[in-house]
């Protein structure tokens, strides 16, 4: 079974992989926030190039990141298609009363570039650290425990649900079920989703029993062994410096 593992390449060795996970979360979050507020398309393009450079340094295959970027990009692509027609401004091209505006194209492209940059950085951040280490880093960064625990259990049980879904799907196919665009197929798929919900509810109860049996009282306790090295401070300084350069340059243009 091929699982949608985000940390498939977390075992590689690179500057980004070796970067302290807590510092990585902080600096990458700063990078993402500074990049999504860029107003100038040229700077936004440079930020996309910069993110691609980080991806290159991280040695994660570009195809792996691009495949995971696709759903996000499909979500923002309508901006690029709709905004040139919807936004007023300098007309680039006009035909039978339908015009494409320069401003619409500009802002549509800006939204897509910003989105691509932030998704890419998020994927590099998550892809260069094992998921359990990311969770522990969030815990040690004092991110509220219910949030970290929800993330942790979601990630753990996604794979169990995939297995459950696939075994039910195989069993349906074994009984001759074929997906068709009709009411019957829809109701069967509805039943399948309902069944998975019921099963997850029951599983949640069993998992809770098992946790309570091991003394769980709602508090998350874990062993965290992180230590910032000189190289981590250096890389963090470079990345934060980059954030500042982007902000200052952006402000000087506006």
């Amino acid at each position: 079974m091929k699982y949608p593992e985000i940390d498939k390449y977390a075992e590689l060795d690179s500057l980004i992989h070796r970067f302290d996970p807590r510092a990585k979360i902080i600096t990458f979050t700063l990078l993402i926030f500074s990049f999504v507020f860029i107003e100038d398309i040229r700077i936004a393009f440079v930020s996309l190039l910069f993110s691609s450079f980080i991806l290159l340094v991280s040695r994660i295959p570009f195809g792996f990141i691009f495949n995971r970027m696709k759903p996000g990009l499909i979500f923002v692509m309508p901006f690029l298609i709709v905004m040139p027609f919807a936004l007023d401004g300098n007309v680039l091209y006009s035909y039978n009363g339908i015009s494409i505006s320069y401003d619409g194209l500009y802002y549509g492209s800006l939204v897509v570039i910003r989105a691509a940059t932030s998704i890419m950085l998020t994927l590099i951040m998550l892809g260069t650290t094992k998921m359990d280490t990311t969770m522990k880093s969030l815990h040690s960064l004092k991110v509220p425990s219910p949030f970290v625990q929800t993330l942790m259990f979601s990630y753990r049980y996604i794979f169990v649900f995939i297995d459950e879904f696939l075994s039910m799907w195989t069993s349906m196919k074994a009984k001759g079920f074929k997906v068709k665009a009709n009411k019957h197929s829809l109701s069967i798929i509805g039943n399948l989703v309902g069944m998975i919900l019921v099963r997850s509810y029951e599983r949640a109860e069993r998992v809770y029993h098992s946790m309570a049996s091991k003394g769980y009282t709602g508090e998350s306790r874990t062993i965290v062994k992180f230590k910032m090295q000189t190289a981590d401070y250096g890389l963090a300084a470079i990345l934060i410096g980059t954030v500042l350069i982007f902000i200052i340059y952006g402000m000087s243009l506006s």
Partner: protein
Amino acid sequence: MKTAISITDLNYSYPDGTKALDNVNIEVEQGEKIVIMGPNGAGKTTLFLHLNGVIRAEQDNVKIFGNNIGSMKTEDRIREVGVVFAEPDDQLFMSTVYDDIAFGPLNMGLSEEEVDRRVKKALATVGLEGFEDKVPHHMSFGQKKKAALAAVLSMEPRVLVLDEPTANLDPKSRADLIRVINDLNKNHGITTVIAMHDINALSELADRVYVLNRSIVAEGPTRDIFSDHVLVKENNLDAPDIFKFFKIMKCFGGDCDQTPMSIDESVKELTQAIEALEGKMSLHIHESTHEMVNDVISSYRH
């Protein structure tokens, strides 16, 4: 010898009013190996949840080494009784095997060094050394079962409760797990309480059997329980194949002192019986042999 588990008149009803446990009485000595058998839905899991205090009994009727489990502090009750549930995916809820095994000891408030020592020891006990960083979805079912057991062993409980430990395991993993459980019982003095349907593993894992069907229907040594074919049938149970085979052999004149419950026992019993007959055992068919064989077969057939 100390009494490890003492349950007196335990009753429990589900929120919808269905009675799950009805006047259950169980007494287990320290170091004993107990198997609880019964049909599906007999209340075994509910009973186990009472044993480690996850479900608190209304009266003080569940006592572990003389103390009421319901009024113990969390750290103390998980030190006394460890429960390994049937489905390993329900018990391996952390991202790595290490974190799962460290979960209980961390909740006990132990130091990081002690937690680390316990994790390594528990992994070595179940034969999963080097699995610390493994993620559960990359492990086989057998490995997950062992990891779930290790996650309870790391709390070093005095009583180990296992729900269907051998279910769905391949023969090698099944044999490994039985060996581990027996080693814990024999060499570490851990009292084991096991719920299972795997009748062919019974003789290795049980000194005594309780038959639970909402209330305790019967209790006694394994052989006594399975000799009562009415009890076996009424509670959806079955006797081990080797036990039934020797019952049939008796119809042909091959009698042993005790009907064996396992292959090992059958070797011992047969040797003794043949030696007593000066090295020769003769089997024969007489008038009523077929009738007797049919009786034996039908008495255990569902």
